[in-house]
């Protein structure tokens, strides 16, 4: 019997790696390039920027090339290959700062607006999308640059120029202007940013390599060629993806803006190949090299015994310059960009992006103590969150030789890490900084990763109650803001039903089908009709009834919102053996039509 139909948590884990824990590459193009890409879009009513066209291609799970492989070497020199390595294309950091999308001074913005999230979900067309997936995506997707979390700090900056219309001098000007921008936040290290150039060539010019060499010689910047040739072939529809809630709401308010555009097949192929080339040839090596440098220069000395002696030396040494750069700025809540604390956090984040989860966990665990001793609370809670996430990501990798963790490990993960850290970070986010959305984000991510772990090792009995607690917390937090008639509540109740329905108190898969088969009756055997029928074999091992209750509550919420399609979807998940409940007025009311 299949029960509790819902979204596989592994899809959400994939979304997490695609929309949050992946490198940001910022794009800046010249006006000629913009005009060129504009002319490519067949629908003239649409006005799309170059960035918007590039954005979907960052997702190389969907926009892949045949046989793509991404080889990543860890600091322990172990090479693993992955079939995808998504990147996110964003506007340049200068623009994001200008738009107020960066943490400046002492104020930290909320990740998203709770009421617009509810409004956005209500506006979506009925039955077309998986609403929980959208809710999850919108909660985790953000391009807000923070000091204590470097996932949104761009790793590479690409300048796109048109070979025929832009000169090297124009490019030089763009780079100089970018570098001389004097409002970079003090926690952002521009030296870690890789500068790269995409050269757009539309006429099959032969001198492209010379041009590339010239750029390399004059500006010391590497480049990739985008040879785009017009051809009137089939058109391909590309959906705009990985957009923040804010931009989606904006798009929705402008009615004629569709969520997709059409592009020629050849150009689509060229973009896929060239972006893949950029990731393989430039981005990955850059990240691996930086990680090795930081590991050698900062992490290893810190771990060594001599570091402890150096700490003594520091106390007696009156070198004020190093002290100032390493100190936490309590007013504006950041560490200076060149401080070891800030670099180590970046090292941990980057290695998480490169999927070395165990290594990044060890760094998060190490730096957490430094942050607590400096009373950098926002860094502490963010690092605690990442400790849990990196640990769970490591545990949920779909590797063949991954063994079920033993009870002691599970106990440690639950009682020493997940529970205390979650309590702690919720307190910091909510009470110390009033950042409720950050708390919401960590609740939803952790509960989904725990669901993944439950599914992977069939240990739902370990995590079921904790996931339920986090999801109820999440629902209550949304209830405070949105009142009782919110769509988010209905979606979360549905997820609670899914979680409870997946509960099995034993670790092997139970064959519930067998329950329904009665014992075969031999001929001439005496049957005692007064004897009670045998109870189900799964008695006490599942929580289908509680799950049905959550699904029922969710249906009632959908009814309030007048969404009959959603109620219909849940129909198969509401199972009652007893006719008394089956014929209950409430259920009749829901399914009368």
């Amino acid at each position: 019997m299949k029960f509790a139909d819902g979204l596989d948590p592994y899809i959400l884990r994939q979304e997490l790696l695609k929309n949050l824990f992946c490198p940001i590459v910022s794009l800046q193009s010249t006006i000629h390039v913009d005009q060129f890409f504009q002319s490519l879009i067949n629908d003239q009513n649409q006005s799309l920027s170059t960035l918007q066209i590039f954005k979907p291609y960052g997702d190389n799970v969907k926009y892949s090339i045949p046989n793509q492989q991404f080889k990543i070497t860890t600091t322990q020199l172990i090479t693993k290959s992955y079939s995808s390595f998504p990147i996110r294309f964003e506007a340049p950091i200068t623009e994001l700062i200008f738009m107020g999308n960066a943490q400046v001074k002492d104020s930290i913005k909320q990740l998203f607006s709770i009421s617009s999230l509810d409004h956005y979900l209500k506006q979506l067309k009925d039955g077309e999308n998986d609403l929980y997936l959208i809710l999850f995506d919108k909660i985790i997707t953000s391009n807000y640059i923070l000091a204590f979390d470097t996932f949104n700090h761009p790793i590479a900056q690409i300048f796109i120029i048109d070979k025929n219309k832009d000169s090297i001098e124009d490019l030089r000007k763009m780079i100089v202007e970018f570098r001389n921008f004097n409002h970079f936040p003090k926690y952002f290290q521009i030296d870690d940013l890789m500068i790269h150039v995409f050269i757009l060539s539309t006429d099959g010019d032969d001198n492209l390599f010379e041009f590339q060499n010239e750029i390399k010689l004059k500006l010391n910047v590497n480049s990739t060629i985008l040879p785009i040739i017009f051809r009137n072939d089939d058109l391909l529809e590309v959906t705009i993806e990985n957009s923040t809630l804010e931009s989606d709401v904006q798009r929705m308010s402008m009615h004629n803006c569709s969520k997709s555009f059409k592009i020629s097949n050849t150009i689509d192929q060229i973009l896929r190949i060239k972006i893949n080339e950029f990731v393989l040839k430039w981005l990955l090596p850059h990240m691996q090299q930086q990680i090795r440098i930081w590991d050698d220069q900062i992490l290893q000395p810190k771990k060594s015994i001599t570091n402890k002696f150096l700490n003594f030396k520091k106390i007696f040494n009156n070198d004020t310059t190093t002290q100032i750069t390493n100190e936490f700025n309590h007013v504006e809540n950041y560490y200076y960009k060149s401080s070891s604390q800030q670099i180590l956090r970046k090292l941990a984040d980057w290695s998480l992006i490169l999927r070395d989860f165990k290594y990044s966990y060890s760094i998060y665990d190490l730096i957490k103590k430094d942050y607590s001793s400096d009373k950098a609370w926002i860094y502490v809670s963010s690092t605690q969150e990442m400790c849990i996430i990196s640990l769970l990501l490591a545990q949920t990798q779909q590797l063949q030789n991954l063994q079920t963790p033993d009870k002691n490990t599970l106990r440690k993960i639950r009682h020493d890490i997940t529970e205390p850290y979650m309590d702690n970070l919720s307190y910091t986010y909510k009470s110390r900084f009033n950042l409720k959305t950050f708390n919401l984000r960590s609740l939803i991510i952790v509960s989904e990763l725990l669901l993944c772990m439950s599914a992977q090792f069939k240990i739902s009995n370990w995590w079921n109650d904790l996931i339920e607690k986090y999801l109820i917390n999440l629902k209550n937090e949304f209830d405070v803001h949105l009142g009782k008639d919110s769509i988010v509540k209905a979606i979360l109740l549905e997820r609670l039903g899914y979680n409870t329905g997946k509960y099995m108190s034993i670790s092997t898969t139970l064959k519930i089908e067998n329950d329904e088969k009665m014992e075969e009756i031999e001929e001439g055997m005496y049957i005692n009709h007064d004897k009670l029928e045998p109870t189900s074999k799964s008695i006490g091992m599942t929580k289908f009834r509680k799950s049905s209750l959550y699904y029922l509550l969710s249906s009632l919420q959908w009814e309030k919102l007048n969404k009959p399609i959603e109620i219909e979807k849940l129909k198969n998940n509401i199972i009652y053996q007893d006719t008394y409940l089956k014929d209950n007025l409430l259920i009749n009311k829901l399914y009368s039509n």
Partner: protein
Amino acid sequence: MSNSYYFTIIGTKDNPLYELEFSSFKNIPTTLPSNYIPGKSQFSQSTKELLPFIANSSLDIIEDLQFSTNLLNLGKIDQFYGLNINGYITQGSIKFIICYDSTKDESNSIKQFFQEINELYSKVLLNPFYNVNDAIISPDFDLKVKQLARKYL
């Protein structure tokens, strides 16, 4: 808090045998609604609709607990929508469930109530015209349950 209770007896096939809603005679709320009748439950309409389902969902926990404890009285087993749920399982796998919205811990008085109900239920079973899992429709049983509710809760 209105100190209201929902008591139900559930058979072995998840079928309800008996149900009763009432409110406490001891802890009368300080602010009384205009249509207050002593002993009448004060659950809101939306909660009332859900009570049988909440009781049904707690069967999962009772069935889970019955393998790990020898006790018949299972105490407070769950909390849902601000309602506390206490459970009791008889030797014949018949479950007594009480859902109540009091803030106080009433496990002791509920335990005594359950024990007395178990005795009462055993007497019902002695009736040769009664089969296990049939609904209990005896007015005497109903009256006695109400008296016990008044005595203990």
